[in-house]
């Protein structure tokens, strides 16, 4: 060996215990793909459901173990400083998994729609004879389970990545399976494929912005590590311009995933076209992951330059809240209504993030979990209202549902009240937390716009409630399917957590508070 090459490299120390949750998820996803490869068709579904749930429960247990063994108090960096195991990271990973488990229950449901909500073979031409045949007879394909595990593993990596390169790889790892999953609906397949193409093209575009931002920041700081960027922001002699171009580009990539205005245009179409369980996964877990990334970048890399960029992101937050609420009012489709409401909710979380102090982190974490559970239950209920064409999502079809299905209408009303921020629901405590954090951080304007938009947003929610109870059902009104065990469990968890965090928020808020310290 020659002396030039002998320059030793110091091997990275990898704390396998600390990154075990991510390894479990990605490893089990590989097991899922192998199961797809080698198991006979009949065995695949039970094995995949088992693998999927075991992976997530084991991951969650590991996260709780890590949190209890003081990683939140004494955060570490591992794998060559590429991963940060700290309070917010663990909290967000746990949140992704808890919401992921509930979403998996919805994905695994096979009795509401016979054979499941997914197409048997996505490669069969939509609308052909073979397609009609497979829609009638064949059960859903089961690749959806390893794909969702890859997505969840990517999200967990995304929220704990400590440099921009790892973050970008994680962004792609969780985005790519989501693009695919959007295209797999059993009914209305062209709509579903259109949603996937839109999501993919715009997502790839936003990823390109993200990479461009990484290049700019590397040019500015000479490193892609968050800590080095933070140091360079204070001490670098280079022009700040490079940093702000980089930050703007990164923010575009992240705010796209979080569905903030003006990067939200994909949301309604994709939420409407994707199979509803996948929409539920996107509305809950992707939102958690996107805001996890936003929190870490803003609070670790760009904390000291916040006076310069905070007004810009503040404008985006206001736009997101106001435009999301206004457009929600005009919607006639329940999935699109929930999509616009999720856009407005991204604005509320952004308000909490912009507090730029400790309770800004904890309130945002809290809000993400409360919103995630409520939106999961809401989309879970949407899967139940059906006619012979599948889900009946047009609002007029929901008229009079309160008489036909009092339990469903009751639960949905409760969830709508939570979205509207009525006290004794988690929607109220979440909004209270983010708005008070923002007030504490001096963001009064944001809070004023936030409250105004919440009032406006209450209108479409209450309109659905009025529609369900005060109107006569149509003659051909959709039926309400009897939820299978899995959907029932998902609905029960979603509704109970919404109530629990409404009356007793401190149970989670305390955890979020003790977790709200980033490692840099």
């Amino acid at each position: 060996m020659n002396p030039v090459l002998a320059a030793d490299i110091t091997l990275p120390h990898i704390n396998y215990g600390a990154i075990a949750p991510i390894l479990i998820l990605l490893g089990m996803a590989c097991v899922g793909v192998l199961a797809e490869a080698f198991l006979p068709r009949t065995l695949r579904y039970p094995v995949q459901v088992l693998v999927s749930l075991v992976a997530q429960v084991a991951g969650l247990a590991t996260i709780i173990g890590l949190a209890l063994s003081n990683y939140a108090k004494k955060p570490t960096l591992t794998a060559g400083d590429a991963l940060a195991v700290d309070g917010p990271g663990l909290f967000l990973q746990g949140a992704v998994l808890v919401l992921g488990i509930v979403a998996t229950l919805l994905i695994a449901e096979r009795s509401v729609e016979r054979g499941g909500a997914f197409v048997a073979q996505a490669a069969v031409t939509a609308g052909s004879e073979a397609d009609a045949e497979q829609a009638r007879r064949q059960p859903s394909q089961t690749e959806i389970f390893p794909l969702s595990l890859f997505a969840l593993g990517g999200m967990m990596l995304f929220v704990s990545a400590n440099d921009l390169l790892t973050m970008f790889v994680a962004l792609e790892v969780f985005s790519l399976p989501l693009y695919l999953m959007c295209a797999l609906a059993r009914r209305r397949r062209l709509l579903s494929q259109e949603a996937a193409v839109k999501y993919f093209l715009l997502g790839a575009f936003s990823s390109a912005f993200f990479v461009y931002g990484i290049a700019m920041l590397y040019g500015f700081a000479g490193s892609v590590k968050f800590h080095d960027i933070a140091v360079a922001a204070i001490s670098s002699g280079k022009s700040d311009l490079l940093m702000f171009i980089g930050l703007a580009m990164l923010a575009i990539g992240l705010l796209f995933k979080a569905a903030a205005v003006p990067f939200h245009v994909w949301t309604p179409d994709v939420y409407q076209g994707a199979p509803t369980p996948v929409t539920a996964l996107m509305a809950s877990c992707t939102k958690v992951a996107a805001f996890g990334g936003i929190l870490r970048i803003f609070y670790v890399a760009f904390l000291d330059s916040r006076w310069d960029w905070r007004p810009v992101i503040g404008v985006i937050a206001v736009l997101t809240m106001v435009i999301g609420a206004i457009l929600a009012v005009t919607q006639t489709d329940i999935k699109r209504l929930l999509a616009y409401s999720s856009i407005a909710n991204a604005g509320y979380v952004l308000t909490g993030v912009l507090a730029m102090q400790k309770d800004g982190i904890s309130s945002s974490l809290f809000y993400l979990v409360t919103y995630g559970f409520t939106v999961l239950a809401a989309f879970g209920l949407v899967t139940l209202v059906r006619d012979q064409d599948g889900e009946a999502t047009h609002l007029s079809r929901w008229a009079g549902l309160g008489r036909k299905a009092p339990v469903l209408a009751g639960v949905f009303t409760f969830l709508m009240l939570s979205f509207a921020g009525i006290p004794l629901t988690s929607g109220f405590t979440g909004k209270f937390a983010v708005f008070s954090a923002a007030l504490g951080g001096g963001q009064t304007t944001l809070v004023i716009f936030g409250v105004l938009s919440s009032v406006l947003l209450a209108f479409p929610y209450l309109r659905v409630v009025v529609l369900m109870y005060l109107q006569e059902p149509a003659a051909d009104a959709p039926t309400v399917a009897v939820p299978g065990a899995l959907t029932s469990a998902a609905l029960a968890i979603g509704a109970i957590v919404t109530l629990l965090l409404g009356v007793w928020p401190s149970v989670l808020l305390d955890v979020a508070n003790s977790a709200a310290q980033f490692v840099g």
Binding site: M1, L5, A6, D8, I9, L11, C30, V33, E36, A37
Partner: protein
């Protein structure tokens, strides 16, 4: 000059291009040409053939191309590893092995599901 190590490659490229050019130009020049009118007409009956619009490729070409890209990217990662194999030692070997085995899960899936069968 930094391009010195690439001169052989450039030479090979030029040779390849020259060979292609040579084959294309020489064939019509030296090949026998015995045309007559009847030879150019449609056989015995039928109408004069009109140029048919090119058909569409079956989708399985796309699958092959995608799989090719997956393994192409794997090879690109092998390149720096192979160059620095001595420096990276056992750790590098284990990590690369892990990477290759993981990508081969994709291969196993595609193979078992018949993605490699042509019909």
């Amino acid at each position: 000059m930094s391009i010195a190590p690439y001169v052989p490659i450039a030479g090979l490229l030029v040779l390849g291009a020259l060979f292609a050019l040579f084959s294309c130009t020489i064939a019509p020049l030296v090949g026998p040409k015995r045309f007559n009118k009847a030879k150019l007409e449609a056989y015995e009956c039928g109408i004069e053939p009109a140029p048919v619009p090119a058909g569409r490729f079956p989708i399985r070409f796309y699958l092959t191309a995608m799989l090719f890209i997956v393994f192409d990217i794997e090879i690109i990662f092998l390149y720096p590893w192979a160059v620095s194999f001595d420096m990276l030692g056992t750790f590098g070997f284990v990590e690369m092995l892990l990477f290759i085995v993981t990508v081969f899960i994709a291969y196993a899936y595609v193979w078992r599901r018949g993605g490699l069968d042509w019909d």
